[in-house]
Point group: C2
Chain length 400, copies 2
């Protein structure tokens, strides 16, 4: 009995204009359009192998080595939609094997710890859709497939593209116009780098889905954000990306992160995702931008205290010469930066920066060094990739 | 040469619907109406003695024993307006001494540490206006005088009344309709108590005036707050007070505090007044209200991390049996509560509450005990009071 397999990797994306609020919970239709940057899969990606065979007894998923349930309505919706597209192909060409009728084995692995709270569900559903679409040899465009990934996890739709991606909210009730589109390819503005500061937090936060709907239902300010603030910002941010205007892009990104967290605080009861360490990072970024008299760094925070900082490669030394002083003890620097580079930052700091930043460092350094557990240095990257690396044994149909 | 003196005390007030934003900085005209509760002067008050004599050489102010400048435009505006009203009296009755033309000596003392960040400027300007109005024997109503106090410090206008007070924003350019009015006298709803949790914070915050105008000028959400959210909430909160509906009053108070801090977070750069300790207090209050299935406590935060909790006397044991467990090591409990009462709370806690609150306590207790430096237990109280206690030597015209 033959086993068909296909493998794909998919990236994490971090929104610069936030998705917060569903107008339809079942279809994951958002209350506003959003924008994100896709991060390099060298650092953060999900690899998924999809296999199907007439001999398989049931749909099964192994995630990071553990057998997981596929019972959630969201996953079922994705599988149903993908099988529907496959069955249309089979109807057109009866010689095709009836993959749409067979059970699926799915094996999925992240190259980063899921516990870090780094949008793993977006990469996960994007990789699932990409791998099965490839297995089924579906002819649909990435934007079409993004509608399926969206049903799994809203922000997953944006992980079907590399570079700079917009999720157009759409207006139709069935969600058929709520899809991701690419604003710029990663190669059209390749200088964008990201530094993720993973902030430890003992408290379990409100989940995104719960939090969103609490905000939608209780925040007075939320309606104004989605009806008036975001539509204008969406157009401005697209323009800033198209014209590669980092200064403007950074301002819009920081404002939108703050606006999103403001509506969380305006929810009832209020939701707090950012903490005092996050705020120190925010204050530090504004101080750095003010020092250089232009925005060389933009912070953004998702539904948790982790900071993602965006900056251009050409400003790396300017930025990291300061930032490294605040969190020199954190692990992760040596994974991407040589000791010569770090020594060079120390020199730049002592010579040009110390006078202006010393008092802030003495206030913030202990807390930041203590509360940030890890730094991940990465950059803008491509969308899903087909790969020969397989997680399934092609004889047994089970995880390797 | 005779010296005329008069002394008055004035209270602190803590807003339950926040004043944040000036539409006219020079006249302290607000962008929205606000509501506050006046606190008892037994715990928090400014005492001011005003003296005048033809022999005085210059206007002088001694504040808490220190000679202070009277040069600020705001103080000058208050003195000018009060003298103007006096001169009208002198014009009507030429037999009156020409106090309006003489210099003033002002001596002022707070019965609480100004460092605690407890709205001392409101009590200060209210006492200054009340003492001078009395010295000048002005016939104007408190609402009329509140317009003068408002020019000194916006929220000072609300300290000219006891009980439950509204500051009607008004709409005229000259501010002549922007004044305080009483919603309810303290004796009409006397059960209202307040517990102030003074939270230590090493960082110097953005001043209220700077912060307000940054919000007015940069927050996208702010306009919606003042144009749409607050007008409706103002009417609802007045109704809740008039009908003594604590449950509704508490919800509106908590929502308004959060809405105000949300617009601070939405400012650019963002302003943070509440910190992680404040958030723990917020979470705890929601947990307590949820446990009792009705709002028995309302938190509110001004431009700093200090919490003010409002509750009704009848719920004191219910509330403090829990709250005391979180901050039992803080000084201030024994000033108002007997050791029998505190032991009784411990009993109630162990018997009825421990099971539900123990895990929260183990998460929060160390931080709250460490970061809260002082508790002040007080209650709703009256407006400015004339007093025979004088801070000025009536022979020398100088501070005693």
């Amino acid at each position: 009995m033959s086993i068909y397999t296909a493998s794909a990797t998919a990236p994490v994306n971090i929104a610069t204009l936030k998705y917060w609020g569903k107008r339809d919970v079942s279809l994951n239709l958002p209350t506003n359009s959003s924008i994100s940057i896709t991060l390099s899969q060298d650092d953060l990606r999900t690899l998924t192998t999809a296999a199907t065979s007439q001999s398989f007894q049931e749909d099964q998923l192994w995630l990071n080595g553990q057998l997981e349930s596929l019972a959630s309505k969201r996953t079922q919706d994705c599988l149903r939609d993908l099988r529907q597209l496959r069955s249309e192909l089979e109807l057109q060409d009866p010689s095709l094997p009836k993959l749409s009728q067979w059970k699926l084995h799915l094996v999925s692995e992240n190259n980063f710890p899921t516990a870090a709270g780094l949008a793993s569900s977006a990469a996960g559903f994007a990789a699932l859709v990409a791998a099965i679409a490839q297995l089924f040899q579906l002819p649909q465009s990435m934007s079409e497939l993004s509608k399926i990934a969206r049903k799994g996890s809203g922000s997953a739709c944006r992980s079907l593209f590399g570079g700079y991606v917009a999720w157009e909210m759409g207006h139709l009730q069935d969600g058929s116009d709520s899809k991701a589109v690419q604003i710029l390819d990663q190669n059209q503005w390749p200088e964008m780098k990201a530094l993720i500061l993973v902030v430890s937090d003992i408290k379990k936060d409100v989940s995104s889905t719960q939090g969103m709907q609490l905000t939608v239902n209780t925040s007075d300010l939320f309606n104004y954000r989605v009806s008036t603030v975001v539509p204008e910002r969406f157009e401005s941010m697209k323009q800033a990306i198209l014209s590669k205007d980092f200064n403007q892009f950074a301002e819009l990104t920081m404002k939108d992160s703050n606006s999103f967290h403001a509506t969380c605080l305006d929810s009832y009861p209020p939701i707090f995702y950012i903490n005092d360490t996050s705020k120190r990072i925010i204050n530090l970024c504004h101080r750095i931008n003010s020092f250089y008299n232009t925005n060389i760094v933009a912070y953004t925070f998702d539904a948790g205290p982790n900071a993602v900082l965006y900056y251009l490669r050409g400003n790396e030394d300017k930025l990291l010469a300061i930032l490294n002083q605040f969190c020199d003890k954190i692990q992760g620097w040596d994974a991407k930066f040589s000791s010569e580079q770090i020594q060079n930052w120390n020199k730049i700091y002592s010579k040009d920066l110390k006078q202006d930043f010393e008092s802030m460092i003495s206030n913030y350094r202990n807390d930041i060094n203590e509360k940030i557990t890890r730094i991940i240095s990465t950059q803008v990257g491509p969308g899903p990739q087909s790969t020969q690396e397989s997680l399934i044994n092609e004889t047994t149909g089970l995880p390797k």
